[in-house]
Symmetry: C2
Subunit: 177 residues, 2 copies
Amino acid sequence: MHGTSLDRVATEADVSKTNLLYYFGSKDELYVSVLRELLDVWLTPLKTFSVEQDPLVAIGDYIRVKLELSRDHPEESRLFCMEVMQGAPLLLAELEQPLRELVEAKVKVIKAWIDSGKIAPVDPHHLIFSIWATTQHYADFQTQVKAVTGRTLEDPAFFEEVLQNLQALILNGLRPR
Amino acid sequence: MHGTSLDRVATEADVSKTNLLYYFGSKDELYVSVLRELLDVWLTPLKTFSVEQDPLVAIGDYIRVKLELSRDHPEESRLFCMEVMQGAPLLLAELEQPLRELVEAKVKVIKAWIDSGKIAPVDPHHLIFSIWATTQHYADFQTQVKAVTGRTLEDPAFFEEVLQNLQALILNGLRPR
DNA sequence: GTCTATATGCCGATAGAC
DNA sequence: GTCTATCGGCATATAGAC
């Protein structure tokens, strides 16, 4: 059970089901390679955080890039969400090692920003989680957002509206006081 | 494909699989009734929003209650998330009618708060989505949160920490300026 | 109403021809 | 390497005895 079948993947990718298994060995191995690459792409923008940046600019940019990912690759976001929700049977090691270390490194950067008084003292972990949660929400819960508002991120005006609101919410919450 | 099997449900509920089908007719009908009840419970706290409340108290309380739901019923949160991520095949009508209407009603309340200058002018839709996204994140992405921080909402100290941070982030973003 | 047995269908994986 | 055919497992659903 992984949200899709080899048959669907094979049809979509225009190869035979047997060839998929020939190349990847098993469905799980296919999933692992897809998810690993996916995790890498989605984490890249976080890697650019560094102490010398202006935190409000860096975080504002990060929110924009993450929201663009939600707009351009919603199925990938949902695939990853599916995996994590099931307890990350295939990806737990990736989450516990590389992801954890990346987050810890960036937590230190955010702490430095706080210590120098550039942003308000929030727990960096929860700041990062909040950015992930709010931006990915528009991909993972696209159906619900559309049912309630009638719109999706593919509508450029709606994208801008979401971006402005998330940036305002999070950056205002961070303004030093 | 719905995250669990009738066999599991039957075992867990200590009834036979055939009896489940006897009572509910089909797996889909069982799901619909479970999801409907679930949606109702999860939306109840939003229903209490009213113009005469102090918005910062009302929203702060809402964040707490939603986070308690994420702590006490994470599997239900994930079940609902699963359904929506698949395009809400069983629940779309519920999202487009009762949910939409409830949200629109509460959007009006939040707009009244904004118009009277009690909170900053944010789009109420995105405020509501942000609260849903951030609070449910700790249930739906429990595995990832635990992999990164080593902790879950079941740890009372961690629960308090998350609550303080989410309230600070969102309420500070709303403080009139 | 509740059980056992079984029909039916889908999916992952393998065998074997070419 | 790529195809067709098929096995074996699991899950929903139904038939029929009690």
